[in-house]
């Protein structure tokens, strides 16, 4: 009973992966890097271009490309036209879009199999 409930639990990406946003012109990139290599395939299956598009519903990019780097258990998302013209002219509070990595990392994905079985994996 308990196991069945855990298997459908949704958790934020940031519990499984970390990342950083960087800007160049009007383009933003966000890395998503697995803390534990064992979770990389799970992340690859769930952190998709489509999920990224949903994370940026408040400022839709004109294009999203995902690059997969299995040797370093990482993915790189490149988002086009999310910075209203770029760092030096846009009127946003965060002109670089540096804070936007967490817009993606807060998105919910299914917990990987076995998640929550150990005490140190408890959801916080």
């Amino acid at each position: 009973m308990t196991e069945a409930r855990i298997s459908v639990a949704m958790i934020p990406i940031r519990l499984l992966a970390h990342g950083r946003a960087g800007d160049k012109g009007n383009r933003l990139n966000i890395s998503v890097i697995a803390f534990d290599p064992q979770h990389f395939n799970h992340l690859k299956a769930h952190v998709t271009e489509d999920l990224c598009r949903r994370a940026f519903a408040f400022s839709p990019p004109s294009g999203i490309t995902r690059y997969v780097l299995p040797k370093i258990n990482a993915m790189n998302f490149v988002l086009e036209d999310v910075l209203d013209g770029g760092v030096n002219v846009n009127l946003r509070l965060d002109r670089h879009g540096k804070t936007l990595s967490y817009a993606l990392l807060d998105m919910l994905i299914p917990a990987p199999p076995g998640w929550g079985d150990q005490d140190d994996n408890q959801l916080t």
């Binding site: 940031r14 970390h18 990139n29 408040f58 780097l69 370093i72 990482a74 030096n88 009127l91 946003r92």
Partner: protein
């Protein structure tokens, strides 16, 4: 043997001054060729440096960085390469020579020219301020070849600061793409200073970083004739792990197989890394492809002014009142300047429209930003934010108003032979 060790003493124009000295001290722990770089140019730094005041600030900045570490560098024969020459590398080099003379210090000072391009009056409505090409490492190598201990550059591509040192010490062939890519990777990883060793990384949970108050500096160690690259952080706080290195590896990267620089196209798609010691990571597998025929250029264009005004609200209904203030401002601005097109942020609930909204904020700050070529108009619109004190919703406070220059940066390209860089030695330091 023959390793080149490069430490980063700054990752942006106004980095912590103590980092340069930590970086220099870190280098003293290594045998071989030792270089300290300061990466100080952002996209619009060159536009800001065009005024007399701006030039004075770039000179002060360069001398400020050197002041903190020059004694350690001289004592240990550490060479310095930096783009802190900004818009006027020769003039900044001369100012550095004056500073060193004043302190009875002797160093040969080199500088690199060739990035500055003529501004096309016809383009951008005559409002272009500066135009520069991102040049590669060959000018740095020429300055080092001439005997420079300190090399002052302008708009050199960031990783090229490191490529210059490695190409000079390892006598790299300019078509040795894999070695050039390895040096570029070293530069890419350390050019943002502490960002590879615990800076810009800390979070609650799994991303704890010890010693954040006095973060240490990264050192890249490039082996001769081998694709091994070591990144370490010998001194100071912070951590250097495969996690911190991976975040920096992908920072500002688009297609990992094609990172374009003036020296080489770097391909990190098959890079792997290993923790080879405490605060030490070793990377292999970086390869290079023939450099692009074109150099990236950046033109800075005067776009007038940006004005920002903010006001705070507290309590359970703070969001309601901030939204009320926003609607009042929209209507008042519509009456004064229908074309103003203001931008609003409701800080404290900015991402409420996203699907994982977590509840009502109790502390909200409304921000309005406007842009115009007419400074008076920007001021008039900000006056409306200030008027919210008496003429807006209840309990508004903490108003701040700010106006700053709006400088657009327009990317372009020139052929490699249209912006050829060369290195020189400042005469009175020879």
């Amino acid at each position: 043997m023959g390793d080149v060790h490069i430490a980063a003493g700054a990752g942006f124009s106004n980095d912590r001054r103590e980092l340069g000295e930590i970086a220099a001290q870190s280098l003293t722990l290594f045998e071989g060729h030792r270089y300290l770089i300061f990466e100080c140019l952002a996209e619009r730094t060159l536009a800001l440096a065009q005024t007399e005041d701006g030039h004075r600030r770039q000179v002060e900045r360069a001398i400020g960085y050197l002041e903190a570490c020059i004694n350690t560098c001289i004592l240990n024969n550490i060479k310095i390469i930096s783009n802190f020459g900004g818009s006027a590398p020769k003039q900044v080099a001369e100012a550095i020579a004056g500073f060193l003379k004043q302190h009875n210090l002797r160093r040969k000072i080199g500088y690199v020219l060739g990035d500055e391009l003529p501004v096309n009056e016809a383009e951008h409505g005559g409002r272009a301020i500066s135009r520069n090409a991102y040049i590669g490492a060959n000018g740095i190598v020429e300055a080092l070849d001439a005997g420079a201990d300190i090399v002052v550059t302008g708009r050199v591509a960031d990783p090229s600061l490191v490529v210059g040192a490695v190409a000079f010490e390892h006598d790299l062939n300019w078509i040795d793409w894999n070695r050039l890519a390895q040096a570029t990777l070293a530069g890419h990883l350390i050019e943002c200073g502490t960002q590879v060793c615990g800076g810009y990384f800390a979070d609650s949970g799994a991303k704890q970083v010890p010693g954040l108050t006095r973060l240490g500096a990264p050192v890249a160690s490039v082996a001769r004739g081998h694709d091994r690259l070591k990144i370490s952080k010998p001194l100071g706080g912070g951590i250097l792990t495969t996690a911190t290195v991976t975040e920096q590896l992908l920072y500002e990267i688009h297609d990992p197989a094609r990172y374009l620089t003036p020296d080489v196209v770097m391909d990190i798609s098959a890079v792997s890394m290993q923790q080879t010691g405490k605060n030490e990571v070793t990377l292999t597998g970086c390869v290079g492809h023939a450099r692009p025929d074109w150099l990236k250029t950046l033109t800075c264009v005067d776009e007038g002014w940006i004005g920002e005004g903010e006001i705070s609200y507290m309590g359970d209904t703070s969001l309601d009142r901030a939204q009320m203030a926003r609607s009042i401002l929209k209507q008042r601005l519509e009456n004064i300047a229908p074309s103003a097109d203001p931008h609003f942020d409701v800080i404290g609930s900015m991402y409420d429209e996203t699907e994982n909204n977590t509840g009502r904020p109790r502390d909200v700050r409304l921000r309005m930003a406007v842009a115009s070529v007419d400074r008076h108009q920007v001021q008039a619109l900000l006056d409306e934010v200030e008027a919210l004190y008496l003429n807006g919703p209840a309990g508004g406070g903490g108003i701040r108003l700010n106006i700053c220059a709006r400088t657009a940066t327009v990317a372009g390209a020139v052929r490699q032979n249209e912006a050829v860089s060369h290195g020189f030695l400042l005469e009175d330091t020879q």
